[in-house]
Point group: C2
Chain length 259, copies 2
């Protein structure tokens, strides 16, 4: 087992979108190794024992099927967690192309064979679904946050769906805004693969799809700042930070220092 319990793949680079998740893991005291989106995962790196694998905007073309099988053996046999986070290069996306891969078989969602990106120019709000410890004690009902987009997937039988996204048509009519509900989709789906836990979060945790979720929190006093080595300082909402702590610690069955 590596001292760095997490292998984090994707989100472009630490100089870019990876600043968010890497920054928060640093703040949480979760050790990780990082592979940027343009670098392949070697079988040697995939073989290092981990508690959690995170794939976020990491194209399937960077992970050969045989390397995916090495990761999945850690999940299936050794109870490592597997988390995919949404984005234009996640799930099917536009160049993610995770449909028809070994990883897809292990995830708790069905990945489309067509571009699955949904960009939301009008309000899309997070809605709590099945109760779960990842989402417990967070104010989904009293302060539902917005997101900016997501990958459209279908939850597999036997999975659970703690979060959904509800889209709205908004219009300004007769001097006021009107909100009309439209489609609803799974946003967080969890499952298992052998002894390991799996999770699929269909929004991104970095701009632009993260939307207002990145600022989820009550006020200035509650803002969280964090910075990963080799990256830039982020400033985010405290509830967003707490949700990510919950998501990582459950899926990877991690202990953290800061949470």
């Amino acid at each position: 087992m590596s001292e760095n319990h997490v292998l984090y793949l994707g989100d472009t680079a630490l100089s870019g979108a990876a600043a968010y998740l890497a920054g928060l893991m640093t703040a949480f005291g979760i050790g990780y190794d990082y592979v940027p989106s343009d670098q392949p995962l070697s079988s040697e790196m995939a073989s290092v024992r981990r508690k959690l694998f995170i794939l976020s905007d990491y194209p399937s073309s960077r992970m050969l099927p045989a390397v995916q099988e090495i990761v999945l053996k850690q999940v299936h046999d050794h109870a490592a967690g597997l988390l995919m986070i949404g984005g234009w290069e996640s799930f099917r996306g536009h160049g993610g192309d995770w449909n028809n891969t070994p990883i897809a078989d292990a995830l708790p969602v069905e990945i489309s064979h067509e571009d699955d990106r949904v960009n939301c120019d009008q309000p899309a709000l997070i809605l709590a679904g099945e109760a779960h410890e990842i989402t417990a004690e967070l104010p989904w009902d009293s302060r539902p946050p917005t997101i900016g987009g997501f990958n459209r997937v279908i939850a597999k039988p036997g999975s659970a769906t703690p979060l959904l996204v509800q889209r709205f048509n908004a219009a300004y009519e007769a001097g006021r805004f009107q909100f009309t509900p439209r489609d609803q989709h799974p946003l967080l789906v969890i499952g298992a693969h052998g002894f390991g836990l799996t999770a699929a979060l269909m929004t991104d945790l970095a701009p632009h799809w993260v939307g207002g979720f990145v600022d989820w929190g009550a006020g200035d006093a509650e803002r969280v700042t964090a910075q990963a080595p080799g990256s830039w300082q982020i400033e985010v909402g405290n509830l967003y930070s707490q949700f990510i702590a919950n998501l990582l610690t459950w899926t990877g069955q991690l202990a953290t220092q800061a949470v």
Copy 2:
């Protein structure tokens, strides 16, 4: 007059957020020179005759007061346009610090002396204000887009406010979402400084504050792709693209090839 009619300052770098505006100007056939956020503006560069100066997440510390005066002389005497676009390093922001500067005197908004950032974790929608050619013939009422944040400013007397932002408190109660209007702020304010036109857009045009506005448009067939030299390819909504074309062409009194 430089063949590149626009001097565009800020938005980090062409490898980062500047990809949006630089990409669209490239698509529109608007020639520009670019200065990244970490580079100062020299008096030589400021002296080159332009039709439009754009400041977006460009800290005031990069532009000495004497250099600001050179820019403002072009605006006042030679009818160049001046546009500031919002962000954490625009207006007051967190390190923008444009309050109490010569540029602030020329802009059509009062800039706060305290952190003016408003990050919106719940819905914030754009609302049309005074009719203007920048905002004409765009579906603000039938399809109001979301934004993710803005700088809180006050419109100066004599200015016009073609766009506002309306914030909402959202809650999920008794099986449905409820939206309660809260505060409203100016989002686009226009004015003049001598012979030049001025504009202040308080949201960003790049993530994360741009919110759903970056995807503003009807469907996949209407998406716009663009790429500036030295930058990466963007894919955005057609209505967002049209709004930016209107904003730049009015403020800078530009002709474009593509719009």
